[in-house]
Symmetry: C2
Subunit: 103 residues, 2 copies
DNA sequence: ATAGTGGTTAGAGTAAACTCTAAGTCAAAC
DNA sequence: GTTTGACTTAGAGTTTACTCTAACCACTAT
């Protein structure tokens, strides 16, 4: 179990951002008896995944969609895959456009 | 020779945007005796190129750099190519990250 | 007892890239 | 003779994804 400060340090984001992600329903940690956020190992993995998606310039709205589907369970796996595939296509198209422009 | 309104229609941007691009030194049209903007065929080609770069999510600052180099002449060709290549790499890296994440 | 970390709400600030409005002028076209 | 489209400066508004400050409370450790 990690506190908000620990998670912030571990992954290199601010506590502000973590609270913001919670507000945006992207990462919803547990709370302890004092109402303090507690992040499990799985929250941490999920956060790292989210940050990877961010690195690929996936907009937060898309990430939120993905997060929502994820909370919905296994039966959304196909939809989630589609989201990733669509994003991949959009990046590939950018590359294609650039290569054409570059001629 | 095209007026600002004609260019806007032809390429699908607003006159606001064209004036903004001018302010940002991205596209500098000629002026007629009345001080009105006049875009030549080459301005139009250049604008289309800029919009292609935009499609690939190249930030305006990079596009401005490219535009500046372009006005500098042929001897900047290598620099310009590098700018495009760097951008290409960054897109390719996004794709790579996504593919790794997607595992 | 005070520093440090955690919590809250509410709201201001930032950067990018526009996007638009205001308020006024001027010339061409119908 | 008025509508249309051009011009100007100056500044406000929009979206995204944070980023930070204020102001105040609670708990733990030194």
């Amino acid at each position: 179990m990690y506190t908000i400060g620990e998670v912030a340090q571990l992954v290199g984001v601010s506590t502000h951002t973590l609270r913001y992600y919670e507000k945006e329903n992207i990462i919803l940690p547990d709370r302890n008896e004092h109402g303090e956020r507690k992040y499990t190992e799985s929250h941490l993995q999920w956060l790292k995944f989210v940050l990877k998606l961010k690195e690929t310039q996936m907009p937060i709205t898309k990430i939120k969609e993905y997060a929502f589907l994820y909370t919905e369970g296994e039966h959304t796996a196909i939809n989630r895959l589609k989201l990733l595939e669509d994003h991949k296509s959009s990046i590939e198209n950018q590359l294609k456009t650039l290569k054409e422009t570059n001629k």
